[in-house]
Symmetry: C2
Subunit: 392 residues, 2 copies
């Protein structure tokens, strides 16, 4: 389908992949348009709309005419509110001037990697992991080096692994906690040791905490403030339920404030103003009550779906405790999770994301189920899979 380009095409494009699940999603939409029912378990965003107090704050911001640019690093009151969030939730002091508000966590990842990665510099990343992370590195002409990880380490890079894999070209290591796709958390002691290990080698640690708040039976500790080489990415998308508003933030260590702000000016001008005003309402009791209620709903879904999937023959090692994903080992059911996902969609009307989207390591033996759907729909999805697996 792709025509030949008549102008240059930068070589980075060869190192950046599309979201493979999009082909499945397009097919799912076509099936639905033709009258078929599809249970969606592939979607990486909460099924809940944005909480009412946040929507109301957005409407109020519009009514008040807050439609012009904010400062590049964000509304001062929002940066203060995020600093307050670190204080109250984690007991950690993060000064507001080290918090850069960005267009989504996407903007924060771009900023963080642009601050750290020169052409040819390496970033160590877990495989499986969030695919955009390696693509941001590639976009900025760095070299993403994927380290296969498994359930034995909670799908996390261990401090020992970092020490073994670090090379003179390595500039940083990245951690996702809770991880997408595995929902596993990095242990606080390990994150500290990773920061120290990277620091001892002159490198940085970038911790993706965008699923923070969505933890079940445990409470994640932030890496913000853990060291003067630690960068933290977070977002209003997941726990705070503001996906489409495109708002996130980057916490930089001391010394990076003005470089981060300069980059933000040039790359973004600023994050969306209405989103920033609305986000202030995330830190109210009324909004938090809703977020917590939703968190409990996710927890109930996790409980149900993990048990149901195991019963169907999937394995879910690695103890998922956060986010809204179950990265399921399907090797007892198939050796080709992509073809399996296609058949699940076509024959069972269930959409899920094959491992291919998260890396190379045992990707064909894994499939990610997102529990971003009602318990009722998840039950229906499980029954459809049960019939499908029985009839094969």
């Amino acid at each position: 389908m792709q025509q030949t380009q008549s102008a240059p095409l930068a070589t980075r494009l060869a190192h950046i992949e599309p979201f493979h699940v999009m082909a499945l999603l397009t097919r799912a939409r076509a099936l639905e348009a033709a009258g078929r029912s599809v249970v969606h378990m592939e979607i990486g965003e909460p099924d809940f709309p944005t909480a009412e107090p946040v929507v109301a704050a957005g409407i109020e911001a519009l009514r008040s005419g807050h439609t012009q640019y904010t400062p590049a690093a964000g509304l001062p009151e929002l940066r203060e509110a995020i600093a307050g969030h670190y204080r109250t939730r984690y007991g950690v002091a993060v000064p507001a001037d080290r918090i850069i508000v960005t267009p989504g966590a996407s903007g924060a990842l771009l900023l963080g990697i642009a601050l750290l990665v020169d052409p040819g510099a390496e970033a160590l990343l877990p495989d499986p992991g969030y695919p955009c992370n390696r693509h941001f590195v590639a976009a900025l002409n760095g070299v993403p080096r994927l380290l296969p990880v498994g359930p034995d380490s909670g799908y996390q890079i261990t401090p020992q692994r970092l020490a073994a894999e670090w090379t003179p070209e390595t500039a940083l290591a990245m951690v996702g906690s809770p991880s997408n796709p595995t929902g596993t958390l990095a242990r606080e002691g390990d994150v500290r040791a990773l920061a120290a290990g990277a620091g001892a080698r002159g490198g940085a640690l970038l911790v993706d905490e965008i699923y923070h708040g969505l933890e079940y039976g445990t409470r994640a500790m932030t890496a913000a403030g853990m060291g003067d080489n630690v960068f933290v990415v977070n977002s209003f998308s997941k726990y705070f339920g503001m996906t489409g508003w495109r708002l996130g933030w980057l916490v930089v260590p001391p010394g990076y404030e003005s470089d981060a702000e300069k980059l933000a000016q040039n790359l973004f001008i600023a994050a969306a103003t209405i989103s920033q005003h609305a986000a202030l309402a995330c830190f109210t009791d009324a909004a938090e009550a809703i977020f917590e209620e939703r968190r409990r709903a996710f927890e109930a879904r996790l409980e149900f779906l993990a048990n149901a999937l195991v019963e169907l023959g999937f394995e879910i090692p690695g103890r998922p405790q956060g986010a809204f994903y179950l990265y399921s080992d399907c090797s007892r059911l198939t050796g080709d999770s992509f073809a399996f996902a296609e058949r699940l969609l076509e024959e069972a009307g269930v959409a899920a994301t094959p491992g291919l989207d998260f890396g190379d390591h045992r990707a064909a033996e894994h499939i990610r189920f997102a529990y971003t759907n009602s318990l009722e729909n998840l039950r229906e999805g499980v029954e459809r899979m049960r019939s499908f697996l029985a009839s094969r």
Copy 2:
């Protein structure tokens, strides 16, 4: 102030400058906080709030719960509406699948340059020009090569200049029309010749049309559709008055659609959903009537301010016909426009942007006045400058 970094700092940071005017703006805010009055003529965004029909559409989108992600390339109906805009305004057929909706023109510039520029590849840019353009090139490890331009060419790179300056390392040339900071337009024939010239050398032309619609006494022609190596950046910020909403778009030539979409997925996920729904209202008669009324207000300000500045001793060559800037040659008044801008602020209470922010070429002899302020305030600013200049 800046501390030493404890982790790597990518070399691109050395090639990216902050907006120098920010120091002046901070000082202006401090003066205002202390009770002084400042006439703002430094600000690159319309003083008008977003038009009521667009705000109403934003509120309606929020009420309707449009708070989740859109497709990476944008809402299909918005891409169609933009395609319709090319049809009705310019009589040009641009298929919707070549239009990628982005977080501001900033996102479109990032996408376009990421598609085209490899490390070490050159981009030819006019000096003076919009500073972020060269910084996007530097961020992606390309080499911005600034070509000094003056009023003789309407501050534009000519086709002859392109031919003379193109090297084997050159990947693209960039044009801004109307230009920031000069307000000058590139001639349609020249843009076609630039596209052909770049094309003959295997390169691309990227045309920044973000001030389109804000033209006075003339009508700009779009470069979209001019050739299969032409990329066009546009925005809802300026004519459509949606700065803080952060919404723009990139038109790619045939063959780049899927690469552009893949990059947008990975770099942005998508532009803000509420902004996209609100932007649909930009293409209504009610909104257009407001935009045109504002355009006429800008035109009246241009007329007033250009004459007044010339009377004060500034020179404004190059025939500004668009945007909302007057790039004024102040060499008869000062040899140091930065110090001059500081004195204007401190002693006259007038804020303007020194040439330094737009490049190196005769930067110290130029200062940019933005007419993003009411005629009444512009009159006051002029009177303050008159007194200041008389008393020196």
